[in-house]
Symmetry: C2
Subunit: 295 residues, 2 copies
């Protein structure tokens, strides 16, 4: 049986895994540092955990990425700016490497083994230090011109009700600027995880996320939406968001998912580590594509 | 050579065509009336224009549609509510019929023969009596749970600058409610086409459309956006929209398309009748799929 490598390259930590499914992966994690240091840790982990047995490696990576060249481009993490991550890891491990965004990987992982299994069209959103989304359309992640940057959509912001100007250094009050973890903390002067469930912060958070979800429902028409990331560990947000989505759509889109199935339409991740599972799925995809070419 | 049938079923008129490409189509048009009357006109046109030679028919239809069953569902055009348009036309003409939304058809037509030819990912937006969008992702129209209803996304609405409450009977000030032709007319008490190019109406119109385009750029990452429909016949809107899109994105997404190619990124349709061309493309798709099944 083939063994695959998975790398979830995040802004604060790297998670690596070896296995053939999310259930049987051997994993490790270390803080995001310089590329040299992290690449050495990656090589060392794969050597010890898998010897030379890894068939291909998938990477779900923080962005922005140039998926054609395999570079990390204009990230604020300076040592990683303009860094050829795909080529470097491929040469270091001597295996084919498939690269995608962290959120596309997570969407793919959930689609393969998790909450959106078997669905042709779905959306994975992470709400944490930042906000990002990965969409699966007709079974395949959306890439397009570059890759989606869903966190940066604009949503209505009533300054009278919420005078907070927003956290995004580019757009101030885009969705990420209004609803990411650090925005919650700056607005309420308390870390998000320390705000009690009855705090008005959560109703406002649900309001912004619901506005964004409605825009994506109208644009992507997903069959299910998975909400992950640190902020979504506050599970009391789910019923608030579902209720507000229904209020905002006002019955305009009449599908079973929206009229009677909202509890199954907007859900938490089905996997413990969607991003790492997705990186594994990327490795397997890469392998099946190489197989096709050989055939 | 195979000859195909194309039907653009619009809210105010039907356009029908017979041919093998948009260049050689014989066409006719008649006002949208009752299904019985229109179906008779359709059958009569195809009999006279093509005899029994039509291989398949494509329909780009006003919605909402149930693409699985081939029904028009909850349209405000009462005689067409819960109407099995695909089956009725297929039985009347005795040919296979492919049905999609009018805007998906237009997106497909532009992708096959028009302004987005050869691009894997694109967006077609129509701005007229209503606002609708069709997206092509990885070469295929987005369908998902139902089909997109892009006109109904929410965008920021500064009530101090624009106190107009919006035209949408469902959502008041969604994009369609703020920026469709009837909203322009109601806000300024003048038909859109009679407002001079220097009127402030156009700067506001460009502002709302640019906000929506930025949301779709962040979500779908299209390689090109085509803006069609009656309102976009005001070609002076294009430079205004391009400028506002650049201002809103603030250099966050660094692709050639956005940094130096905006004139080729946001463009008018390349075809005279994108919807009818798209219906023809649907008929051809249907035929190639039937061929696959037989093979």
């Amino acid at each position: 049986m083939s063994v695959f490598g998975a790398i979830e390259a995040g802004g604060t930590k790297f998670v690596c895994g070896v296995g053939s499914s999310p259930d049987n992966m051997v994993t490790t994690r270390f803080p995001t540092a310089s590329p040299e240091e992290n690449i050495e840790q990656i090589v060392s982990f794969f050597r010890h955990a898998a010897g030379d047995r890894v068939t291909a490696v998938g990477i779900g990576c923080f962005g922005p990425l140039d998926l054609e060249t395999g570079y990390i481009t204009s990230t604020p993490k300076l040592p990683w700016q303009n860094y050829p991550i795909r080529q470097t890891i491929s040469e270091a491990l001597k295996v084919p490497v498939e690269l995608d965004t962290d959120v596309n990987a997570a969407a793919l992982g959930e689609c393969r083994w998790g909450a959106t299994q078997g669905l042709s069209d779905s959306l994975y959103l992470t709400v944490g230090t930042g906000i990002g989304g990965g969409a699966i359309v007709n079974g395949t992640p959306v890439h397009g011109m570059m890759h989606p940057e869903m966190g940066h959509i604009r949503v209505p912001h009533d300054l009278a009700a919420d005078p907070y100007p927003g956290f995004c250094i580019y757009h101030d009050d885009c969705l990420e600027g209004l609803a990411c973890g650090p925005a919650i903390e700056e607005r309420w002067k308390t870390a998000a995880e320390q705000l009690p469930p009855e705090h008005e912060a959560w109703s406002l958070e649900a309001h912004y996320l619901a506005l964004a979800l409605c825009n994506w429902i109208c644009t992507l028409s997903p069959k299910r939406i998975v909400l992950g990331g640190g902020v979504m560990k506050q599970l009391h947000l789910f019923p608030l968001i579902r209720k507000k989505v229904a209020q905002l759509l006002k019955g305009y889109i009449r599908t079973t998912e929206l009229t009677s199935g909202l509890d199954e339409f907007i859900v938490p991740p089905g996997l413990e580590m969607p991003g790492l599972a997705g990186a594994l799925a990327l490795a397997q995809l890469r392998c099946s594509r190489t197989g096709e070419k050989r055939a």
